[in-house]
């Protein structure tokens, strides 16, 4: 048995193809793309919910922010902005790994683009269209997500006033207007595709419906939160003082 396994090992490792074409890396790339995608998808759902606590009140956002920054471990209860910095840096690495392995899915030649467009024209198919939009949003996120994460690494201070200042006075809303729909569409349909791809569910129609509901729901809370930050930012005078509950 051991001998036969050794033979099998030799057989697979013996293939001399490099990079993604190496059969060992074919499986690893697929698993890494899926694992990073799952992590990012779950992170986005949590991130948008934490972010939207501003819809409840400035106090609610204050407490959520400080809890996530490890407020319970600090004497003042304010937490440590370095936590945001660390999480942002970690997520940046995850995004880059995900993008690296997802790139192999991108049509690399003009003939492939033509084939895809022709296929979508001759045979319109819902999941193929969804994948096409994942392709487009994935391409956008390749540029947008690192900008946001780099911003959070260099300016990790979170707070109702500080975040509103960033959104309104530093014009970061322009980034979020593009980032929000791109990330929500990409992540929710990505989670749906992951579930059917690995056979987590066979109830595909229900999974797709859930993904669509999540897209609408996250877009609503995301846009509402963004508008709230813009309104708060408008009401603030520079220089901004951090919000502290009275």
């Amino acid at each position: 048995m051991t001998a036969s396994l050794k033979t099998a090992k030799t057989k697979i490792h013996d293939v001399s193809s490099k990079g993604y074409l190496n059969p060992i890396w074919a499986a690893r790339a697929d698993k890494l793309q899926s694992a990073t995608g799952l992590l990012l998808g779950i992170f986005i759902i949590m991130h948008l919910h934490f972010e939207s606590s501003i819809l409840i009140s400035k106090e609610a956002f204050y407490h959520v922010g400080h809890f996530l920054e490890g407020g319970i471990f600090s004497e003042t209860g304010h937490g440590f902005p370095v936590v945001t910095k660390f999480i942002s840096a970690f997520m940046l690495i995850v995004v880059l790994v995900h993008a690296l392995f997802a790139l192999r899915r991108f049509p690399a030649q003009i003939q492939q683009w033509r084939a895809l467009r022709s296929q979508m024209t001759i045979m319109p198919h819902q999941d193929t269209k969804i994948w096409f939009w994942q392709l487009i949003t994935g391409f956008l996120l390749f540029f947008l997500a690192p900008v946001h994460l780099f911003d959070m690494i260099t300016n990790p201070e979170i707070g109702a006033h500080l975040s509103a200042e960033r959104v309104y006075h530093q014009d970061v809303w322009m980034l979020y207007v593009l980032l929000l729909p791109a990330v929500v569409l990409h992540a929710m349909f990505g989670l749906y595709r992951l579930a059917v791809k690995w056979g987590v569910t066979t109830k595909r129609t229900a999974a797709l419906k859930l993904a669509k509901i999540m897209v609408v729901y996250l877009m609503i809370i995301g846009i509402a939160s963004l508008l709230t930050y813009i309104f708060i930012g408008q009401s603030l005078e520079l220089p901004v003082t951090p919000f502290v509950p009275s």
Binding site: A8, K9, K11, I12, H13, V15, S17, Y20, L21, P23, I24, A26, A27, R28, A29, D30, K31, R104, R105, P107, Q112, A115, L116, S118, Q119, M120, I122, M123, P124, H125, Q126, D127, T128, W131, R193, V196, K197, W198, G199, T202, R204
Partner: protein, 245 residues
């Protein structure tokens, strides 16, 4: 009683053997009959209006898979498509993309399937030492037989290949039909090939790890084969294989 309606067929016409011919769409009209299928209509068109019209058929009952074509943007079997399904009476017919065109609506799926079978070794490979023609074959477990029968229903029509955008973008991609057949032999207890052996065939970017889960195969398959589940099964199996190596 309402009078039968006239339906129009917009059909792709091109003969690749004729250097002077150019691809074009030609419109034909026909009077609809009760229970008429696209296949019946095509035969009537060929008999009554244009004998040069090329399309394939054998069984007329969804068993041979020969009459597969793209009907109003959906790849499917002409013999299983009722003209009554199209309320506006306008039907556009295109040949299946991804295969060598023989002419008009006729494509060479046979060449593709043969090459695929040779490439993936799509035949049962029992233990050579265990073959004894004088001995009764060991009965198969009914549950296993039922599983295999489910996957054996593939009629090699090529619809899943045409419905797959991944396959259209990447010619070397195995496609759903190949993976369905691999899954069939992987599940067969008589086949001595191991997961590692199958990994060599489909554990790459042209195989199961190249599938982008666009699910055209699942949605278009005229035999309702469980492509989605089988590809997911193979993906898990092959991913586990590499972990254990």
């Amino acid at each position: 009683m309402t009078s039968p309606r006239t339906i129009s067929f917009n059909i792709f016409r091109y003969d690749p053997q004729d250097p002077s011919d150019k691809p074009k769409m030609v419109t034909y009209e026909i009077t609809e009959a009760p229970g008429m299928t696209v296949f019946i209509a095509l035969n009537m068109l060929r008999e009554q209006q244009d004998p040069s019209l090329q399309f394939d058929f054998v069984c007329r009952a969804g068993i041979c898979g020969s009459c597969a074509m793209v009907i109003n943007g959906k790849p499917t079997l002409a013999c299983r498509t009722l003209t009554a399904n199209f309320p506006d009476g306008k039907i556009t017919l295109m040949p299946l993309p991804g295969f060598e065109l023989i002419g008009d609506l006729s494509v060479d799926t046979g060449k593709f399937m043969r090459e695929l079978a040779e490439r993936l070794q799509l035949w049962l490979q029992p233990d050579a030492n265990d073959i004894d023609i004088h001995r009764l074959e060991t009965p198969m477990d009914p549950a296993e037989a039922a599983k295999l029968y489910e996957l054996e229903r593939c009629v090699e029509c090529g619809v899943c290949v045409s419905a797959c955008a991944t396959k259209q973008m990447k010619d070397s991609f195995v496609g759903a039909v190949g993976m369905m057949k691999i899954a069939r032999f992987e599940m067969d207890s008589r086949d001595i090939r191991t997961a590692e052996d199958f990994y060599h065939v489909i554990g790459n970017q042209d195989g199961v790890f190249g599938c982008m889960t666009l699910l055209g195969c699942q949605d278009a398959c005229p035999k309702d084969l469980p492509h989605m589940q089988q590809i997911a099964y193979l993906r898990r199996k092959m991913a586990q294989t590499i972990v254990s190596c």
